[in-house]
Symmetry: C2
Subunit: 406 residues, 2 copies
C-alpha cells in the first residue's frame, strides 16, 4: 500500500539519447519475472556514482567502484534482482566479474567498461550462469524508450515501479534527465540508495558529473529512511551520454542541470519512502535552528528511526511525547529543551519544555489522520536546518520482513 504513489505514466518518461535499456527474465530467484536489466551507453558518455558505506558492501559494489576508478569509459550497466551478491567473499567477486565479461562479449567492449549491480537476498551465491544465459534476451530488447520496463525489472519488495523525468533548458540548449530507482526496505541510504539510475543526454565532464552526483545524493537519497538499515548494495549512478550535443559547463549551466538531476533523484527517493515496506503514511521531518546541518540530521533521524514514534504515526495517535523523547536521545548533550518548539504541520505542540497551553489533542489527531504531514522542530540554537523523509511502522512491515524469504 504505497502512500500517494502511482506507477509512472510510460509516456511521461523521456528517452535519453545515447542510452538504451533492455530487460529479460533470467530466473535469478523466481521464474517468469523480469529480473535483469541491461543499459547500453553511447561512446563518449560520462558516468559517476556513489555507493553504500556498509562495510559488508556487495561484490558488485566493489567491482563497480573499481571499474569507475579505472578511468575507462563505461559502456554498460547490468542489474539483477533476486540476489544481492553481498556477504559472498571472494567467490562473489568472481561471479560478478563473470557477468561483466559476458556483457562485454555481448556488446563488444571490455569487462572493465561494465558496471554490475545486484539486489536481493544477502549471503547466497549469485547464479551467474542464469544471468549470462538471460543476457541475449536483454540485448535483443535494448531500446531508448524502455524506461518503464526498466523500472519494473529492478523491483524487489517494491509494490510500485519508480521512475521520473525532466526536460531542462541549459544555456542555449535543452536536455533530458530521466531516472529509475528501487527499494522499499533496508532503506537508510548512506551515500545513495539501493539502486538509483539517472541518465541525461547533456555533455558533462567526468569531474563535473562527480560533483553533481554527490550533490544530488545529498538532497535526495541521503535524506530518506524506511527502517534505518543501510543496505549492502546501495548505488546511485548518473550517466551523461552527451548525445544531445548540449555542452554543460560553467556555474550557472551546471546548476541548472544539477537542479534537474536532484529533482529527479528527490522524486525517486521520495517514491521509495512512499512505497516503504508496510508504509501507510509519508512523513517529512524538518529540523531547524540547529548549530550545524549534521546535528539537525541527527535529530531528524532520531525521530525517523524511533519505533515508538513510527508506530504512533501508524496508529494516528498523537502520543507526541515520544517525539520529545526521540529528540532528547539524539546525542546533543547541551540541548536546551526549554527553547525547543515542536510543530505538526502548522500546529504548535510543544514549547518551553512541555506541551503548549493552546495545544489540544484533537489538533494533533487531525494532522496525524492525514496520509502526509510534516514534523517540524525548531531547536533554537542556530540557523542550520535539515530535512528527512520517512514512513510509519505498521503490521505490514513486520509481515513483509518476517515472510520475505520463507
Amino acid at each position: 500500500m504505497a502512500v500517494n504513489l502511482a506507477p509512472p505514466d510510460p509516456d511521461s518518461l523521456q528517452p535519453v539519447a545515447g542510452v538504451e535499456l533492455g530487460v529479460a527474465m533470467a530466473g535469478v530467484r523466481k521464474a517468469n519475472r523480469r529480473d535483469l536489466l541491461l543499459m547500453r551507453l553511447a561512446q563518449g558518455s560520462s558516468v559517476a556514482g556513489v555507493f553504500t558505506q556498509n562495510r559488508f558492501c556487495a561484490a558488485p559494489v566493489i567491482i563497480a567502484r573499481r571499474h569507475l576508478a579505472g578511468g575507462q569509459e563505461v559502456r554498460a550497466l547490468v542489474v539483477n534482482t533476486g540476489n544481492a551478491n553481498a556477504g559472498t567473499g571472494e567467490d562473489g567477486l568472481v561471479r560478478a566479474a563473470t557477468v561483466c565479461e559476458a556483457v562485454a562479449r555481448a556488446l563488444g567492449c571490455a569487462a572493465r567498461q561494465v558496471l554490475p549491480f545486484s539486489t536481493g537476498v544477502i549471503m547466497e551465491p549469485l547464479p551467474a550462469d542464469r544471468i549470462v544465459a538471460g543476457l541475449p534476451a536483454a540485448v535483443a530488447d535494448l531500446r531508448a524508450d524502455n524506461w518503464a520496463a526498466a523500472a519494473e525489472a529492478i523491483m524487489t519488495t517494491d509494490t510500485v515501479p519508480k521512475a521520473a523525468s525532466r526536460r531542462v533548458r541549459v544555456g542555449a540548449g535543452e536536455v533530458t534527465v530521466t531516472g529509475i530507482a528501487k527499494g522499499a526496505g533496508m532503506i537508510r541510504p548512506d551515500m545513495a540508495t539501493m539502486l538509483g539510475f539517472v541518465a541525461t543526454d547533456a555533455k558533462v565532464t567526468q569531474g563535473a558529473l562527480e560533483t553533481l552526483v554527490r550533490q544530488a545524493a545529498d538532497k535526495s537519497f541521503n535524506c530518506v529512511t524506511v527502517d534505518g538499515d543501510t543496505s549492502t548494495n546501495d548505488a546511485f549512478v548518473v550517466v551523461a551520454s552527451g548525445a544531445s550535443g548540449v555542452v554543460v559547463q560553467g556555474t550557472a549551466e551546471l546548476e541548472a542541470l544539477g537542479g534537474a538531476i536532484a529533482e529527479v533523484a528527490a522524486q525517486l527517493a521520495q517514491a521509495i519512502v512512499r512505497d516503504g515496506e508496510g508504509a501507510t503514511k509519508f512523513i517529512t521531518v524538518r529540523i531547524e535552528g540547529g548549530r550545524s546541518t549534521e546535528e539537525c540530521r541527527r535529530v531528524a533521524y532520531a525521530i525517523a528511526h524511533s519505533p515508538l514514534v513510527k508506530t504512533a504515526f501508524f496508529a494516528s495517535d498523537p502520543n507526541l511525547g515520544r517525539i520529545l523523547a526521540a529528540i532528547g536521545n539524539a546525542g546533543i548533550a547541551d540541548l536546551d529543551t526549554a527553547r525547543l518548539q515542536l510543530y505538526l504541520d502548522d500546529v504548535l505542540v510543544a514549547a518551553n519544555g512541555g506541551r503548549h497551553p493552546d495545544y489540544r489533542e484533537e489538533m494533533g489527531a487531525a494532522v496525524l489522520a492525514k496520509p502526509e504531514f510534516t514534523v517540524r522542530a525548531a531547536l533554537g540554537r542556530g540557523t542550520a536546518a535539515a530535512t528527512v523523509w520517512t514512513c510509519d511502522l505498521s503490521f505490514d512491515y513486520v509481515k513483509i520482513n518476517a515472510e520475505y524469504r520463507t
Copy 2:
C-alpha cells in the same frame, strides 16, 4: 507473551531490614489498578542512583538527581505509573515537588529527603492531587515483606512483575539484596533502566555505593535493548539500609556485595527483555575480538536494533545476511570483513567475508526455532568483548505501541 519468564515466587523475595514498601490505587490514569508505590527507608540508609541521559529527562528525574546531590539522608522513594511527568516543563517540576512535600508530611521528614519517580505517558500533566490523595493508603500498607506487591505496582506495559533476591556472605556477616524493576518498551537504557530499585541491608558508605550502582548498571540495565528508544524516565537506584549491622568495606567485601547487586540487577534487566513488548525470543548478542569494549557494544547494538534482523528472528528465518549487513553498518570504518566469524549458538555461519562452506540453512533454522539463542561475532581485531540482551520484533510490538494510549 514473555520469554521464559514467570512471576516471582513471593516467598523467594527476601525482605530487606530497614526498607518498608506500601502500595495503593491512586487512579493516576486508570481506576482499580495499583499505580503508587512508597518505599520508606530506615535512618542511616545510603542511597545512590543513575539516571537517563535523555535530554528530555522527566521532572522527577531532575528532582531526584537534585535531592541526591543535596546530600541529605534519603528517607523515602515514591513511584507512580500511568504518567511519566516528562516533557512537562516548569509545571512538571512543581507537580513532582508537590508529591515530595506530601510524602514528607506523611512520614515526618523533609521534602528534599524524598526521591520521586514516574513512568507512563509523556507530555501530559501529572495528576499530583490524585497521588497525594492515594498516599495515606500506601502509608498504611507499609511493610518489609511487600516486594511482590511493589513489583506489581510499578508495571505499565509489562505483562509479568519483575523481582529478584539474593543472600550473600560478606566477610563475617550475611546480607540480603532484593530488587524490582519495570519496563517493556522504550527500552534502551543509557545509564539505567525505566525504574529499577534494589535494596540491601548492608552498611555501605555513600561513596562506595555510588561506585557499586554504576558498576551494576554497566553489567545489567546498560546491556539491554528492546526497541532502541531511551526513556525519559530511566532510573536505577540502590538503597543500603545498614539495618543488618554488617559493615561492608574493603575491596573483597565490596566486590562480594557488588557481585550480588549486579546479579540481581542483571536478572531484572534480562526479565525486562524477556517481557519486551511483543517479544517471542530472548537473544544474547555477544561480540568478541574487538579493539575496545565500546566498538564491541556498537556492533552488538547495530545487530540488536536492526528491524530487519529482529523481524527475521521473529520469523525464525535464518536470513543471516541481515546480520552481516547490520555489522557492516556499525560504523567501524576499517572492519576487515574477511576476518569476521559469525556464529548462531555453536553453528559457524559466516567466515572469510561470506557463508561458511559447511553451513546449511537447516542448521541456522534449528537454532532460530529456539526461544533463546546467542548470536556471536568474532571481529578478529583484538581482545575486547561485550554482551547485549535483546528480543525480536513481532506483530505484537506494533500492536502494543499503536494501541498503548488509544
